[in-house]
């Protein structure tokens, strides 16, 4: 990637205080991920140029710390060339097991913010935080909090781009590196995009850039102002249209989680195996609340509700039920899993339970999904109660409001004195 003449993250117009209204897409990119993970477990190497990659004669650089980059070492560079450029560097073989373990931790932090996480690779993901804004604040605030959490808990830095779509968010994170945050306000989108070289456009590699250059188009602005027909004839129908759309900052791609992740759930492992049905009932209510809250913050509803039970002997059973109508209502999910548990209990008996979990599957977007109304349904029902509770939680934290049966019993010495 060629360097930008202007380090844009220093430009206050795109800094953390910029207007992030209507910019729900975050692109989070870990800084020099492999090298940073190595530094994390070997702090004595901090400050030294660290290069991770194949150390054999045909090895290639997988990652280089920013110190190493000042010597001109780049990813995908032959290792031999890196060694010539930076003979004093610390050269390490990659440990993918470790990187993947750390990656999982990072992605889990992303998913705490929103279930709409599109993981692009081990160290990079798009997040759609539209549904999380009410819970966690504006996209810019979410990005800052996420960066702080990744740094605080994992000792790693990342760069985040915040914009109205995936294309701009990714451009922004690239320009925020390292350890930066860049917001592309909607109003300033073209100011941000148009001065960039054509290579910034997604899908424009060296060859396409060369074609465009021969047309006299070197900046995104040039592409934007070029007649779309000439772009199509130079690049082909699809690529021409694509490049023209991008040059105006238009990108309709949605943040999509993989099909396998099209479910939301929560589970809990008890400190001591549980047989008391009341305790299991409360656990399920809490889990139903947790999972539906995440469902609601992602603006999703689900039709299938699943129960998972692991007994003291580690045998695990799952039961699920598909509802007539998709739901995001805590009470409906709870009543369904409780029904599933009672049926299970009738056949399995009251065996001690080690782990219990709730999962909601067959997810569809809540907005625009027609909803079958039920007879006698009050105009303001459980759904609205949930939304009100979510709003309270967003302001005062999850301890502020919960179903009455999840309140701690009075005899608990820790909390007995205070009454809500």
């Amino acid at each position: 990637m060629s360097r930008q003449p202007v380090p844009r993250e220093r430009d206050a117009r795109f800094g953390p205080g910029a207007d992030d209204a209507g910019c729900p897409i975050l692109h989070v990119d870990m800084d020099a991920f492999y090298a940073s993970v190595e530094l994390r477990r070997r702090p004595e190497l901090r400050g030294r140029p660290v290069i991770v990659g194949g150390l054999g004669p045909r090895g290639v650089v997988s990652a280089a710390s920013y110190e190493a980059r000042t010597f001109g070492v780049r990813s995908a560079m032959p290792m031999a060339r890196a060694r010539r450029a930076c003979p004093q560097g610390v050269y390490l073989p990659p440990d993918f097991t470790e990187y993947s373990a750390v990656s999982k931790l990072v992605m889990a932090m992303f998913r705490d913010v929103t279930p709409l996480v599109e993981q692009l690779s081990v160290d990079e993901a798009f997040l759609d935080v539209s549904g999380a804004v009410r819970l966690f604040g504006s996209p810019g605030a979410i990005a800052q909090r996420l960066r702080a959490r990744v740094a605080g808990e994992l000792g790693l830095t990342c760069s985040v781009g915040v914009a109205q779509n995936k294309f701009l968010a990714k451009l922004a994170s690239t320009r925020a590196k390292p350890d930066g945050l860049l917001i592309v306000p909607r109003a300033l989108m073209l100011d941000f995009l148009h001065p960039l070289p054509v290579g910034a456009l997604w899908g424009v590699g060296e060859r396409t850039a060369e074609v465009l250059r021969r047309l006299g188009l070197t900046l995104v602005r040039d592409v934007a102002n070029a007649p779309p027909a000439s772009l199509r004839s130079a690049l082909g129908e699809a690529a021409g249209r694509h490049v023209h759309e991008l040059s105006w900052g238009r990108d309709e791609r949605r943040v999509t989680t993989r099909a396998a992740e099209k479910s939301i759930g929560a589970e809990t492992t008890f400190d001591v195996d549980v047989t008391d049905p009341d305790q299991l009932r409360r656990a399920l209510l809490g889990l139903a609340q947790q999972s539906t809250r995440r469902l609601r913050s992602a603006a999703l509803t689900g039709r299938t509700v699943a129960l998972k039970v692991r007994y003291d002997d580690f045998t695990t059973v799952s039961r699920s039920r598909t509802l007539a109508v998709a739901t995001d209502v805590t009470r409906e999910v709870f009543e369904t899993v409780w029904g599933l548990y009672e049926t299970l209990r009738a056949t399995q008996g009251a065996r001690p339970v080690r782990l219990i979990g709730v999962r909601i599957e067959s997810l569809v977007e809540a907005a625009g999904t027609p909803r079958q109304l039920t007879l006698g349904e009050p105009e303001h029902g459980w759904r609205e109660a949930d939304q009100a509770a979510d709003a309270v939680t967003a302001r005062f934290g999850s301890a502020a409001i919960r179903p009455a049966s999840l309140l701690r019993p009075r005899e608990d010495p820790g909390t007995a004195a205070s009454s809500a």
């Binding site: 039920r321 007539a324 109508v325 999904t369 027609p370 909803r371 079958q372 039920t374 007879l375 006698g376």
Partner: protein, 380 residues
């Protein structure tokens, strides 16, 4: 035990009793049907501790006796036999069955392990078999199938003097049918919640036999928690469902803002056609105006369909959306040529009833059959 019987009579008797047998019986004998010959009759019985069914068939009996064989197997065999007299004989621990040149030998199960069928509860009254069957078919469509709400898998029967009211709901629609019956004691008043599947099967088999159906229900004492139905040579008992059935009648709106009258068979055809582009549980949209009715389905990006049809409509133009299967369920059991749809607004339940070609609205409000259907909210 040895007897000769007509193939059709045997096949029907066995098919009906075998239908109520459990798929996975808790004890093996419950997968059996009991064959008993006495007084020149064969009695075929099935029982799963919840539902019992019994058929009496006239046979040419050579010797009396009783035996127990697999119901499902016997049902399949009798269904496949040629249309000839069937000779049946218990020989040792086997049942031999001969029909034409076909010959079957079935193992029997120990009769002494088979539970005693429940007694019929005391007779509560009688009802015309055909009318009973038609009414049950009209309400059974709206019963719930979700076992997590067992109460809603039942048909609520309310006996009030000479009026019998049947009610079902699955939370999305409600079917109500009123008809007359003859109570054994005038002024009787009681209720029962009967599993819908059992009631539908029973009514379907008793209806075509004609005559009257005896309804047997104990207020208390013998046979409490049970209901019995008996018709020509057949009887069934069923356990009743528990639960506080919700007050459903109050869900019918007191007044309507709009009413549409449309030929029921045409609307069924149109909805079926248009719904081809609607996925399961996606709605069909009905737009009513003075110009008639337009039925549409599908989205802006998906396949779309629309069709107009004639409709008499009074009220402000409106669009209302329904689950197409729910709508078709109601339309398909109407007992008149004209479907009358009454509305308050697109978010409130609509009422479907039938009327004659020249029927007037006054009569419709008191229609014997009313189907209340909750709409689908289009953009939540």
């Amino acid at each position: 035990m040895k007897f000769r019987v007509e193939r059709d009579a045997l096949a029907e008797a066995v098919a009906w009793t075998a239908k109520s047998l459990p798929n996975r019986p808790p004890v093996p004998v419950l997968a059996g049907v009991l064959l008993r010959v006495a007084d020149g009759h064969l009695t075929v019985s099935g029982f799963d501790y919840e539902v019992s069914s019994q058929v009496r068939v006239l046979v040419n009996a050579e010797s009396d006796g009783v035996t127990l064989v697999s119901g499902r197997l016997l049902a399949e065999i009798t269904k496949a036999l040629p249309a000839k007299p069937v000779d049946v004989a218990a020989v040792g621990s086997h049942l031999e069955l001969t029909c034409g040149s076909a010959r079957f030998t079935l193992p029997t199960m120990p009769v002494e392990d088979y539970p005693t069928l429940p007694e019929m509860p005391p007779t509560a009254g009688q009802i015309d078999a055909a009318a009973f069957a038609a009414a049950v078919a009209q309400v059974a469509i709206a019963a719930g199938r979700d076992d997590t709400l067992p109460m809603m898998t039942g048909v609520r029967l309310e006996f009030e003097g000479e009026t019998l009211t049947m009610l079902t709901t699955d939370r999305f629609r409600l079917a109500l049918r009123e008809l007359t019956w003859s109570p054994a004691e005038p002024g009787a008043s009681f209720q029962a919640l009967v599993p819908a599947r059992t009631l539908a099967d029973t009514a379907k088999t008793l209806g075509p036999l004609g005559g009257n159906v005896t309804i047997a229900l104990a207020a208390d004492g013998v046979g409490e928690g049970m209901i019995g139905f008996a018709g020509e040579g057949r009887r069934a008992t069923s356990r009743l469902l528990d639960g506080d059935y919700p007050k459903l009648r109050s869900l019918f709106p007191d007044a309507y803002n709009a009413q549409a009258r449309v030929k029921a068979s045409s609307l069924v055809e149109v909805v079926k056609r248009v719904a081809l582009v609607a996925e399961r549980s996606t709605p069909v949209r009905l737009s009513f105006s003075e110009d008639g009715l337009v039925v549409e389905a599908g989205g802006t990006e998906d396949a779309r369909a629309s069709e107009a049809l004639e409709c008499e409509y009074s009220g402000e133009a409106m669009t209302i959306a329904f689950n197409h299967q729910f709508l078709l369920d109601g339309l398909s059991v109407l007992d008149g040529p004209v479907a009358v749809l009454s509305f308050t607004n697109p978010m409130k339940p609509a009422v479907l009833s039938a009327s004659a070609e020249d029927g007037n609205s006054d009569a419709d409000a008191k229609a014997a059959y009313r189907y209340l259907l909750m709409p689908i909210r289009l953009n939540s």
